[in-house]
């Protein structure tokens, strides 16, 4: 597949929220796998769907964007900060403050209550804690998000492990959005749901993301979700994977 931006309808004046350039990354322990991202940008307010089969470097790409791993070369500017230049602790703080992350599955700490899981990010970022409790106490904000995502009140104090997969994904969305982080990263959040629930989940996700004014980047292997996004791109067109021996 070649480079194929399927559609781009964003107004041109929207500024970039994330820009990667000249990024080269290799896992320290796995020297046969290297990822190169020459140029990637994400505009504020965009809802980007990245299409990529497993093994296409999705996790590595998202890890770089969220600052969980750091590249050997290149720059990753998020909200004007080059997170590739930050040390590990500062990257962790930056991620806690500006990113909300939803995994494919197993998003919640199973022993904790639903509310504790939603409130968890606020322990790691004072800024998010401030934003979450700006209008109402943080716990009420969590309840508001849970309500909006269709989690019944009786489940708020239940242990996360007792929830269905669909409910867990919605709680994960509430956690990603609490305290209004600017960037929401979703790594195949619907792949463990059936078709009807996929659509319902995306509807809810889009509405809370829009309400928060956040930017969404979602990875999936399912192109049929494309029409709901403002842009769709193949991961291969952004990130080049090099395997085999390291070149001189």
């Amino acid at each position: 597949m070649a480079v194929q931006p399927i559609k781009a309808v964003m107004p041109i004046e929207a500024p970039d929220i994330a820009v990667m350039s000249g990024v080269r990354f290799a896992w320290p322990s796995r020297d046969s796998f290297r990822l190169a991202i020459d140029d990637f940008s994400l505009r504020e307010g965009e809802r980007l769907l990245l299409i990529g089969p497993s093994g296409s470097g999705k996790s590595t790409f998202l890890g770089l964007l969220a600052g969980i791993v750091s590249p050997q070369e290149g720059s990753i500017k998020v909200l004007g900060t080059d997170i590739a230049r930050l040390n590990g602790a500062a990257r962790d703080r930056f991620r806690g403050e500006h990113f909300g992350i939803i995994f494919q599955m197993f998003n919640l700490l199973p022993y904790g209550s639903v509310l504790d899981n939603v409130l968890l990010p606020l322990s790691f970022s004072a800024e998010r804690r401030r934003r979450a409790s700006a209008e109402r106490p943080a716990e009420e904000e969590a309840v508001r998000l849970l309500d909006k995502l269709g989690i019944e009140p009786s489940l708020r104090r239940a242990s996360a492990a007792s929830l269905s997969v669909g409910q867990q994904q919605r709680v994960a969305a509430a956690r990603a959005l609490i305290g209004s982080p600017q960037l929401i990263i979703a790594d195949e959040p619907t792949s463990s749901l059936d078709r009807n629930r996929q659509m319902a989940f995306l509807d809810l996700l889009f509405s809370v993301v829009a309400e928060a004014g956040a930017t969404l980047i979602m990875v999936s292997h399912d192109e049929s979700l494309g029409p709901r996004f403002s842009r769709i791109a193949a991961l291969e067109s952004i990130a080049r994977i090099e395997r085999g021996e390291v070149q001189p």
């Binding site: 896992w27 322990s29 996790s59 590595t60 998202l62 890890g63 969220a66 969980i68 791993v69 590990g88 602790a89 962790d92 703080r93 991620r95 806690g96 403050e97 990113f99 992350i101 995994f103 494919q104 599955m105 197993f106 998003n107 919640l108 700490l109 199973p110 022993y111 904790g112 504790d116 409130l119 968890l120 990010p121 606020l122 322990s123 790691f124 970022s125 956690r175 790594d187």
Partner: protein
């Protein structure tokens, strides 16, 4: 703090393994401290085997040998002291009291000791405890015997029972003084000293049962009945050793030198206290082995804890990826795991201390009665607190091992949530 609450809930979810780990640590701590208590108690009980006696005199031999046969009833005297020499020593002006003892016979493996009734007043143990009778009274008749507590208990004797003394020290000697049986006149209370394992008779009785013996065998054709012997002169010709109390402690070394230099007969005089110390330094190596074993048990318990945390680590990689995704630093994850290990070890140590004192309070009277070992119930000493601090420090360091592994995993996993 939500993070700590979640960490606690994670641990609470594994409550069974966590509890077992804490109990394993607690038992090992109880053992470590218990061995220390028993060590102290044993050393004290040992040093308190004989007290109030300033010198022990016997035929010339090493100090340890003299102590072993005269106090512990172990081994044999190299030689005897003649009655004449004994009388000479007894005349020394510094002497407050002197009690002769005569050994050589046995009863079912227990030593028979000839002495004077004064022995029961003079022999002290645990500083100031005198011997007391649980039943009966000291010997008054020639063929009366006073039994130590263990002898009476093991052989099931009561007051008035007849016992036969065997010649020599074998437990089933063919040579028995069966023509002159003894009657139990008294049974001593338990002391935890070798007195418990001794049959006490009068010096004259020792003489009486050997009247028709020579060189370890009955003189053929010459038999003296128990009645006849009462009318004979039973003044002993020799004794094995003598316990001496002095009027003034200052005289101890002077008299000791005088006895060691005694011309007529080669003699040795020892100070029981310092010889006991010397003996303890020999048998005390066992206590070091015991302490080493209990230390190894603590190490085993800590290894168990590390294993328990390590095995849960894989299922907790998800937990770590989630924490990382919401902004937790790897150092936070390291801290949580170390905190978990620290909590387990501190709870284990605390429970261990509780178990130790519960055990001591419950078992102390029994141990005292059964083994004559008095273990004092005292607060932990500084040295023991230092040991415990060392165990906790070792536990925290051991806890770093799985924590560092979790740290490495959380770096390597990156965004991937593994299950």
């Amino acid at each position: 703090m939500i993070v700590l609450r979640l960490a606690w809930q994670s641990l609470a979810n594994r409550w069974l393994t966590a509890t077992l780990t804490i109990v394993a640590i607690a038992v090992s701590i109880m053992l470590l401290l218990g061995v220390e208590k028993v060590r102290t108690g044993a050393r004290q009980s040992f040093a308190d085997t004989i007290s109030g006696t300033d010198l022990i005199v016997g035929a010339r031999s090493g100090a340890l040998n003299l102590l072993l046969y005269s106090v512990f009833r172990i081994g044999n005297a190299t030689n005897n002291i003649t009655w004449q020499t004994y009388q000479e020593i007894a005349k020394a002006p510094d002497i407050d009291w002197i009690v002769p003892i005569s050994l050589g016979d046995s009863h079912h493996g227990f030593r028979v000791m000839g002495t004077t009734p004064e022995y029961f007043q003079r022999y002290h143990y645990r500083r100031t405890n005198a011997l007391t009778f649980s039943e009966g009274k000291p010997f008054s008749d020639l063929f009366d015997a006073v039994l130590g507590a263990d002898v009476a208990e093991r052989l099931g004797y009561k007051l008035g029972d007849k016992i036969v003394v065997a010649h020599g020290l074998g437990s089933t000697g063919f040579l028995e003084h069966d023509d002159k049986p003894f009657q139990v006149s008294g049974i001593l209370a338990k002391t935890g000293t070798p007195v418990d394992r001794t049959v006490h008779v009068s010096l004259e009785a020792i003489e009486a049962i050997h009247v028709d013996w020579q060189s370890g065998a009955r003189i053929p054709g010459q038999s003296v009945s128990a009645e006849e012997v009462r009318h004979m002169n039973l003044q002993p010709k020799a004794i094995t050793a003598a316990l001496i109390g002095l009027k003034s402690k200052l005289a101890i070394f002077g008299l000791q030198r005088a006895i060691n230099d005694y011309r007529a007969e080669p003699l040795s005089a020892i100070l029981p206290g310092s010889t006991l110390q010397e003996l303890w330094s020999l048998v005390g190596t066992a206590e070091t082995a015991l302490a080493a074993v209990s230390a190894m048990v603590v190490v085993t318990a800590l290894l168990g804890m590390v294993t328990m945390i390590l095995t849960t680590l894989n299922e907790r990689r998800r937990e770590m990826a989630i924490l990382r995704s919401v902004g937790a630093r790897p150092a936070t994850i390291l801290g949580l795991l170390v905190a978990e290990a620290s909590l387990l070890i501190v709870l284990g140590v605390a429970l261990g201390i509780v178990l130790l004192y519960a055990g001591l309070i419950g078992l102390q009277p029994y141990i005292d009665r059964a083994y004559g070992l008095y273990i004092g119930i005292e607060p932990l000493k500084t040295g023991e607190w230092i040991d415990l601090a060392g165990v906790i420090a070792a536990g925290v360091i051991a806890g770093l091992l799985p924590a560092l592994r979790a740290y490495r995993l959380s770096l390597a996993d990156g965004m991937t949530v593994r299950t």
